[in-house]
Subunit: 444 residues, 3 copies
Amino acid sequence: MPSPGPLTIATADPAALADTGRGEDLHAFVRAILPLHRSITGDGLRATLHEIGERVPLAIREVPTGTRLLDWTAPMEWAVHEAWLAAPDGTRLVDLRRDGSLAVVQYSRPVRLTAPLRDLRRHLHTLPERPAAIPYRTAYAGDTWGLCLPDERLRDAKERFGEDASFEVVIESRLFDGALTYGECVLPGDSTDEILISAHACHPALANDNCSALAVATALAGEVMVRRRRRFTWRFLFAPATVGAVAWLAANRNPTVRAGLVLANLGDPGGLVYQRSRRGTLGQPALIDRAVSIALRGRVDVRPFEPTGYDERQFCSPGFDLPVGRLTRTPHGEYAEYHTSDDDLSLVTPAALAASLDAIRDIADVIEGDRRYRSLAPFGEPHLRPRGLSDAAPDDRAAMLWVLNLADGHHSLIDSAERSELPFHTIRRAAERLLEAGLLEPLD
Amino acid sequence: MPSPGPLTIATADPAALADTGRGEDLHAFVRAILPLHRSITGDGLRATLHEIGERVPLAIREVPTGTRLLDWTAPMEWAVHEAWLAAPDGTRLVDLRRDGSLAVVQYSRPVRLTAPLRDLRRHLHTLPERPAAIPYRTAYAGDTWGLCLPDERLRDAKERFGEDASFEVVIESRLFDGALTYGECVLPGDSTDEILISAHACHPALANDNCSALAVATALAGEVMVRRRRRFTWRFLFAPATVGAVAWLAANRNPTVRAGLVLANLGDPGGLVYQRSRRGTLGQPALIDRAVSIALRGRVDVRPFEPTGYDERQFCSPGFDLPVGRLTRTPHGEYAEYHTSDDDLSLVTPAALAASLDAIRDIADVIEGDRRYRSLAPFGEPHLRPRGLSDAAPDDRAAMLWVLNLADGHHSLIDSAERSELPFHTIRRAAERLLEAGLLEPLD
Amino acid sequence: MPSPGPLTIATADPAALADTGRGEDLHAFVRAILPLHRSITGDGLRATLHEIGERVPLAIREVPTGTRLLDWTAPMEWAVHEAWLAAPDGTRLVDLRRDGSLAVVQYSRPVRLTAPLRDLRRHLHTLPERPAAIPYRTAYAGDTWGLCLPDERLRDAKERFGEDASFEVVIESRLFDGALTYGECVLPGDSTDEILISAHACHPALANDNCSALAVATALAGEVMVRRRRRFTWRFLFAPATVGAVAWLAANRNPTVRAGLVLANLGDPGGLVYQRSRRGTLGQPALIDRAVSIALRGRVDVRPFEPTGYDERQFCSPGFDLPVGRLTRTPHGEYAEYHTSDDDLSLVTPAALAASLDAIRDIADVIEGDRRYRSLAPFGEPHLRPRGLSDAAPDDRAAMLWVLNLADGHHSLIDSAERSELPFHTIRRAAERLLEAGLLEPLD
């Protein structure tokens, strides 16, 4: 495991974090970072990482343009200052400053021209089936330009001025040798084995995809940071999608990831959806897969791995095959507002954000709390009464019997939770009582 | 395997046993043992074992109080001679001699006092939701006392006399150094490997739990005893729950149990319920699990192992992990009369008892009859006609083809029965014909 | 693998085969071979093989009567020239020449007698529940005789003439030392490992069972024959049921069969039914099982192996245990016309035959096209854009990501097709593009 490097600590005041978990705070954080002009590189991304770094200790990595990153290359940096389309009467049909960063196709080259609307059409992106919304478009190859606007505005202009009228386009953008930026928050634990939490940080003004997960992951990092003790080292990665994850992997060729989660779309009203890790799908369920199923029993839709989603594509590529799953509410492409300007602050609710954080905290508790034990009284049931354990409530008593029965060195608390269908915290509490009573020997 | 020790044979006249299997006989046996004042120790338990010993050869074990038994200790012996609660007018609200052994909390210490009803309340156990029934209560720690009575009688007395009226309580009981008693019937077979059938023998006047299983297990032992030949050694264990099973395990630290069944609640009108063995639940199904599924196909509800039931908790503790399942009709706690005086002779029917015996006999037939074979004509199908096997009925013919196809040394008759969905006896008969025809070589 | 021996090539003109796949051609072939007087030996079987040999290169094997064949013996050859039953007025109730080969019980000994109808009854086979149909009956032991006729004709004759009237029976048949005949078409491929396609060729005038599969298998052989390249050696076996398959196995004691299919009943209107191989049922699915499930996803009913069907009984006997499944439309015994004269040209449709051929061609494509690859860019996702692969249609793009993700040396294209639920040809095309782009290394 390469050293995580020096941390560029921001405030990270634990006291200030106490409320981070609350839905309103999460929503406020989404609101704060939503307007920043994010792309896979650039100052909007840096500003977003800065906001995260105000809340948790964050190391910022800058990877120079042109750096070889596995099969990829760190891209040119892109900046955009102006982008608009004006009708013959000067009305701006769309304007980056007014309509936000979706107005311009990401990585558009600069352009300044006046031309008949007819000739501009192939550079103007709209959603006829969603006429009031601006679509999200990218052109990372850097060899074209485009503007995105509501279909209804374009149709209206066409009716008013005709397709032969001259419209003015201005895009002031710049592609230059700069850097690819990502941030990571590493919280060392008893073990150098890591829990990896990753959220893509590059998408522009889309609230659910992925300001929601940035907010939830930041809040979780804040909570993990103030834990009295961490079993594992926790690493929170905030990076541009694909090439950012690739950049991290390029710098961490042998990551000791024990379990990982890619987080996305955690603020919409849909139910939780978990995509299992690659290795958990192809073979035996991995720790992360089992922890999610136990922690979110009855409140998650579990799906097999597919190589077509977010950055689990990178972490689960065959050369790495890390045990990384993905937790979302509604997955990419399955909600109508996906990749449009309707993925806004009204789609993302405080309640959904808070429930997402609760869910991930429960998963974290299982991962941190799972243990194997060996019973010190494995022959027959131990006599609970003389040890003061016989007055437990029925669930606690059942939990003790499960933990004792499975304390054979092969099964862990997760097995007891799976088979008993009792909550993990009930199982864990039972194990702690049995440990105190001298009936168990911890194995890990 | 330690020697089963000398048998204290009672009559055990096979001729007398011929009718034991009939439902009326089973019910008569339940009726005979129901009133005996059973507890986890004592003369009621001994009298119950004596009744069993009248029917099958039974070795009686007496384990002195204080003997270390794995994590347990053989308890003090308890005897009770009187137990009653009298109203101011001398009426006995409950009386051990009249109402039976449920009237007193098991292991009550002696008491003789007169006190306002109000002050006695915490020692008087009733079931408000089942006002005519007496609950079953125990206090094995031996440091308290209590009486159990119908809630309607207590309410009636309270109305008539008021809570300040003085009631008289008498419990004449004795805790003393004696012994824990259990009985076992061992029927040697060709192999010293054992089939263990266990039924708890300690519960007081409850017909289903567990006079029913005592009757069925005794009848099965009688049937197994008169078999011409036994493949395995059969051991029938009649012991007080928990500490009795622990005592047996303490005396048999390396039991060569090939398959086992804990029997309970076999007389109620509910369907059969089988709980798989621990090892059959955690890994591959064990012989007992497969035998039950085959023998009772379509007439049993199969459940995974849980460490919260009867004596399978001891046999399946991780240090032993014996392949022992549990067969009941309605499991503990799942019928309304459970652990009340309504678990009586009307809940238990001759038909249910007889059907339970039939079911266990079918299971025994599978266990005794399962074999692996190697085909002596494995290349292509053997030609059945010249061997006089071509005129079989369709099921018999299919059974022969299944047995031949799976006679590869790895699969047994249980596999053929599972995959063909034919009855085990059809499969077994086919194997016998093929064996006679020289087409099979037995492997075990 | 024993040499397949010299081929007795018939015409086998590829150009003539171009249309074989069409339903009408398949139906015409069924029509052509239906009236031939097939049995498990004899000239009707030879004529049928001749018809097949007109279309594909076919080696004809003649196994002399009395040859030891595993547990069997090559039977006497049987020929029948006349077979009829005449009423007192000379009317023929049934006549081989008029009613076809079902009229006589197969392997009837010769007979010529006149007797009261009452005395002939046990030799006259009818179907009271299907009064207009002639049943199919056999008596291979060769020690009896019988005629088969419509029940309504027999009842009518009984009413008209009475049971005491004398009827005349003539069967001119001959049992003699001859040969058991079968044919095989072997099409060598890059590997000597074989794909075995087998169809029983012995049943008399039954269109579905099995002229349908003879037609489809012949057409498939024609198609495989003209393929530019074959990965595996393809062997098409046309043999009498049971003893014919046994004869082939006796001559091929160590067949290197990589995958196999027994074909039968491929012309009726029922849906496709696949019975898995023995080894695929007892253990992990075999190549043939997976190929069928992938190729026929959503259009096949998959069942476990049973040793009670067609020649998979021989191929899957425990001494061979070849990976051979069985594809039918309605299986034997599950359609009302089964083994009666109603299994005729109206039951078998061009559309069903053509769809069966399509299905088997799809299976063949999966078997021939499956490959394992190793990714040459396994760390993270490879960058598709610089390789010109980023403009693929969504399914093609998903297919590329699946193939890359599973290109770990352990998984094959079948795995990608199974997990992605994309069509196999989409997966295969993706693999080809990735191979061209230098991203994959083929492993087999």
